[in-house]
Symmetry: C2
Subunit: 759 residues, 2 copies
Amino acid sequence: MKIEKESLIGRRVPKLDAPERVTGRAVYIQDLVLPRMLHAAILRTDRVHARILSIDTSRAERLPGVKAVLTAKDIENVPFGFGKDNTPLKGDRVRCIRDEIAAVAADSEETARDACGLIRVTYEDLPPILTPAEALRDGAPLIHEAKGTNVPFTYDYAQGDVAVGEGESDIVVEETYRLPFITHCCLGTSGIAASFDARGDLTLFSVTQVPFLYARDMAAIVGVAPERVRVIQVTIGGGFGSKLDIYPYEPIAVHLARKTGRPVKLVFDRHEEFVASPTRQPTEIRIRAGAKRDGTFTFRDIDFVHDNGGYTSWGATTPFVMMQSFSSLYRVPHVRMRGRVVYTNNPYSGSMRGYGNLQATFAVESAVDLLAGKLGLDPLEIRLRNAQEAGETTGQGMVFRTCGLRECLTTAATRSGWREKRRATETDRPHVRRGIGMASMLHVGGGAKIYRSDGCGTILTVDDFCRVTVLTGSSEIGQGSETVLAMIAAEELGLPLDAITVVNNDTRITPWDVGVHASRTTFIAGNSVRLAARKAREKLLFAASARLKVPAEELDIRRATIVRAADGEPLEELGKVIRGLHFAKRSEVVVTEHYYEPPSVMQDRAFKGDVSASYAFGTQVAEVEVDLGTGVVKVLRMTAVHDIGRVLNRLGAEGQVEGGLVMGLGYALCEELLVDGGRVLNPSFRDYKLMTAPEVPPFDVTFVETLDPEGPYGAKGIGEAPAICTAAAVANAVRHATGGRFTALPLTPERVHRETHGR
Amino acid sequence: MKIEKESLIGRRVPKLDAPERVTGRAVYIQDLVLPRMLHAAILRTDRVHARILSIDTSRAERLPGVKAVLTAKDIENVPFGFGKDNTPLKGDRVRCIRDEIAAVAADSEETARDACGLIRVTYEDLPPILTPAEALRDGAPLIHEAKGTNVPFTYDYAQGDVAVGEGESDIVVEETYRLPFITHCCLGTSGIAASFDARGDLTLFSVTQVPFLYARDMAAIVGVAPERVRVIQVTIGGGFGSKLDIYPYEPIAVHLARKTGRPVKLVFDRHEEFVASPTRQPTEIRIRAGAKRDGTFTFRDIDFVHDNGGYTSWGATTPFVMMQSFSSLYRVPHVRMRGRVVYTNNPYSGSMRGYGNLQATFAVESAVDLLAGKLGLDPLEIRLRNAQEAGETTGQGMVFRTCGLRECLTTAATRSGWREKRRATETDRPHVRRGIGMASMLHVGGGAKIYRSDGCGTILTVDDFCRVTVLTGSSEIGQGSETVLAMIAAEELGLPLDAITVVNNDTRITPWDVGVHASRTTFIAGNSVRLAARKAREKLLFAASARLKVPAEELDIRRATIVRAADGEPLEELGKVIRGLHFAKRSEVVVTEHYYEPPSVMQDRAFKGDVSASYAFGTQVAEVEVDLGTGVVKVLRMTAVHDIGRVLNRLGAEGQVEGGLVMGLGYALCEELLVDGGRVLNPSFRDYKLMTAPEVPPFDVTFVETLDPEGPYGAKGIGEAPAICTAAAVANAVRHATGGRFTALPLTPERVHRETHGR
């Protein structure tokens, strides 16, 4: 019985962790129970900006069941965060509504929360700064006096000479776009459990998406040597960038564990998740852009301001990513960008899927449609005229070894019926207009060399029964990496998928990785697994060759069987070869390792350089119907075409695109964290409007499979890509339908109605 | 500042896991909590031998909180155990008092136990067989009819020709020794938690000491593919061989987990631990032995019977080890051994530290003293005359590459003041006699090739902060292996001990190993770690050599620093070398692996062959005072001299010897599981007499450090050795003091009084 070569690559494979999740067996932080564990809660301030005059914890301390109450004076309150401007507990001043005043560890969560309610704090209010504009005013009070400024980070980037570009322009447009607060809405709320062992080593049961960096950074915050911190990730109920930073609740739990000598768990409720977890930064972007009469782009000049909130997170570095789209989304010779990150007394923002790119792409793609409109060009035509091709290097130094942008544009146009639908906006209902709009995106697809190493390690073992364990540094945060990595190991080793176990949640066991960010896991962890598995494959074929007296290069492994590669003739069970090694006189077991480092480089001081091993592209087309009477925008259909290189798990890739589209539609139409006077007005799913299943339109998802020369089997990253250009496409469609400007999101009925009725 | 070479080898290092254990942080099975976990209890029979007529579980099923009730008819009751004569639940017949009739999973342990109390079983009693003699009688009823015999295993071994040996003898002695039931008395009682994931993979939180074999064997019992079983060991509260077998409670927990779809934990209480955990097999050994007038041993002829109890465990293979002492403890040319393992309706026996060797050594060393007495030779002299030396191969084929037996004998004699104390037994109290006795032991010290591979795998990683993780297949069951393995890694890598984490408790993560038995861990896992660490060392020195332009062989690693080997001049921090590799363009991390297989061989069909890579020896001398009025034996002092090759952790080795001595003294003096009519009469620490701290005499512990050429740094195994000859030495001392025969243990006051008063 000949055995055909089988491959899972490109097929539709359900996520391996899905059954655990849907049957309730997965252990989220909510489910975790440790022996002797205490429960913690945090008292947050109810002021936006104030001096703390006194904190009285005496009643809380007397509550039965309370084991520890901490305030800033009880701990070494080490500054942390990207700007080193945050502390676990606030002792003298509060700067935003989520600020942590005190924390309690108790026998139960209820007791801990009750105890928080017994703590009395007196304040002297300070004048709040509620917008970046106020913060930037001359003489504005300083939110962090030690910084000497309300602008902790400024980014200036240039390529070419904008003045030259403007001189060459036949047309120039200018507009200012305002992007709102939104938040990640992870279905699993934030939480941690911290436990010291008797040697003083610290184990953190965490939801972080960057476990190795988290261990290192947390070590410094809580005063433990980095090699003494072990991070074990529980099942993570959504990350989307929100788990890139360390937040005050995490060192607080550690301090409580240290004080009580017991494991301490701290979990957010939904209200707390809305108030005290990060946001996508509100951004105001002024963009000027020019083009020649034929539509050739000449320059872009951008000035934007991020509302940083009261403290600085990794979100303050989103301008790095934004400048990639400003500089390189379409060919544009002259670019200048100035970005400022500004303190306010609003909730502080973080990193979120796309990492600034949704905001930047909204501005760029809105401006592209403005230019097209002024020039009387079809939005598709102006984009095609400026779309790069494979082999180009952008002004910022990104090398597009593969580039499916033009094919994404044409495919999206064809599949959406672009040319026909672009012609008319009338419907048979006089108050209803139709529109169609498009937008494209560019994002890193092969990691991003932010750190000196962007690599990932794998240790791979094959046991006597052909069971493979893949120890990978990478993390599963719901994105499906476990499944893709298992597929890669199965592919290399000719084994069924369920022979593979991926272990990816324990820094003491798995090799180094820099975490889930920059859409890097499939590309980088995938290559690492592929190359470790290939070493195992070579060892097995070598052993089989010796047993069978057939050259190794004439052998293959299929369905756990050594076969003749030429015709699939089965020669020996793989298990026998493995056991033959194990039970040989010079006994061996199959253990291999590989550390994969992508061939990318760090940017230079001018922010230039080929920062990723690969880049991903995509075009999305939105078809909308706008009810001018009610202002309601109904998205009729989204066409999404993405160049992600070779598709590995088609179901997973489609899932990523669909999830990204839903997130992008929420950004476009309904999501907004309403922050007024520094306070969150809608901290619940009743008042914070997520897209829900009945509202989701049909999606047409297509992949342009450029084969990346470096990616595993030709794959590129896809994690962030699908959310990036959705809102821009929807806004362009609404503009097409209505002729409105629409400079702000979300496109709520109220906003659409006002815009279309001139109010 | 020059850095001297430092070594932990041979120093006194506290156990790394001790702080966790003594501070209550260690997670024993009792402490383990899994989300959604149920608790189970077992209904055991109250009959010794009976037919089951009916089981009515209806009342138990109706008890609120009960989630599942299982009897034999509800499960596929797969036969298991070394004799495949046991089943998880008993449906038709019970054969000993611990037999499992039904099991309950419920919300709490109390409810589960209450439900067991509501189950009604009706029986038809069968005539019990309560001694091997009854079982061996012609026409005795068969306990396992399917076996067709009450003697499931018989061992016949011979070397030389006993008739020739007898012919050459000037003196022949014969005696029959009776060794009692004792049990392990692990302070952590038995338990398990079983959990299926949504894919049907089974995780067992287990106290097994042989996790890889356990996974494979459990798979067959519960009908799961072996590659789908993952074993995670919780902290184990003592093993001593009791965790070598699978017992019915373990598959029962799995069946309950399957039926309820929830994790199920089952933990023994102390009563259950006494009644339903294994015993050291009671053995009756007839030994005939001869010698020439000068004391040269001529032959041994042994016939022994093991009381197997109702079912067969690995304990039925203890004759393999017993025959090693019969054949090779001292030089003896002609040996014949017949051993029979016999079913009875008593509690069934298992494996226990020493694995039959305590019983065999008791017989051999008692007979040696008998011969010495008959020949008028000093017991030391007759032993020295027959003690082997390094380089000898025994009649059974064991090659003594190193052998410190003679030095053990002479050192023990010197340190105990043997010659002087042997002269007189009188004291200043007329009813009190003093005595001194000795006994030696032989045991495998470099593993035992019972399986085709006796190897152990290691994966070793070094992180950017010089933190080392050692993934070893071996298990820590309290014997201190974690500490020794960490010391070895620290030694090779020039790092402090607390830079090392040993991960040794998860079959999905660690490489293969055959478990804790045969005193193999230091030797085999130690070599595996040593060689994996050496590879890492070589990689690091190679990298340092490239950085420093100094040949690698001129470099060393000391205190996490690269130094010039010749003079200890510090050249670079090790961490910098590691990070240099990590952040190099061709990035690497330090991950190595090694699978160590000892150069031993499996025995042939005649039980001959060099089954271990090394052998350990020892001599113990007991000094006693016997009160003839009360029969009380007081041990005044134990002198223990053991050849365990190079001592790695002196504190750990001493701890092993002291623990073994205490266990051996209990066997000699007070421990006995009183089984009467098949029932256990003393299932509590009130009635089962362990040695307690105030009764423990002074110990004088010395090591003879023969340097084994294969062992790590010259080490040999020590786990079982110290318990083996203690009872024999004590009995020889009591015989010396009193002149009695003392053919049975324990030497309780009653027994001593009867013997010394002729009753």
